[in-house]
Symmetry: C2
Subunit: 76 residues, 2 copies
């Protein structure tokens, strides 16, 4: 399973700001809405546990949103 | 567009190890192969630039693999 963790909309995203500012200096123009979050991939026995795992450990639900995805071709 | 950045196979993934060790203490058994990486989401004018962006800024190609995905429903 895969968990995508992002800063909530409206929460400061300093890494995203830093990347967005750095790209033009490297010759890449036109990048916008850059957000940097975390990616967690893991095998679990019971994917129903994942929401609780996110709430308790993987994400900080006060300032982050998370999205749980099944990985195509993976067994769990 | 979305970029998933992961530690390369065989490269130390201390965050993944830490999460895998912490889960049983929180009552979640059976998690395995836990890997923690980064998630970058951004709008770009030319998605052909993304590979070079990853090589130069977003990922560290020495120790990280990256995967570029289009986000469904997004315009870029």
């Amino acid at each position: 399973m895969r968990v995508l963790i992002r800063p909530k909309a409206g929460i400061l995203d300093p890494q995203g700001v830093a990347v967005e500012r750095a790209l033009p200096a490297l010759g890449f123009d036109g990048a916008a809405n850059v957000h940097v979050g975390r990616l967690v991939e893991l095998d679990v026995e019971d994917s129903a546990d994942l929401d609780a795992m996110c709430q308790k450990l993987l994400a900080n639900p006060l300032v982050e949103d998370y999205e749980i995805q099944a990985i195509e071709g993976a067994h769990a």
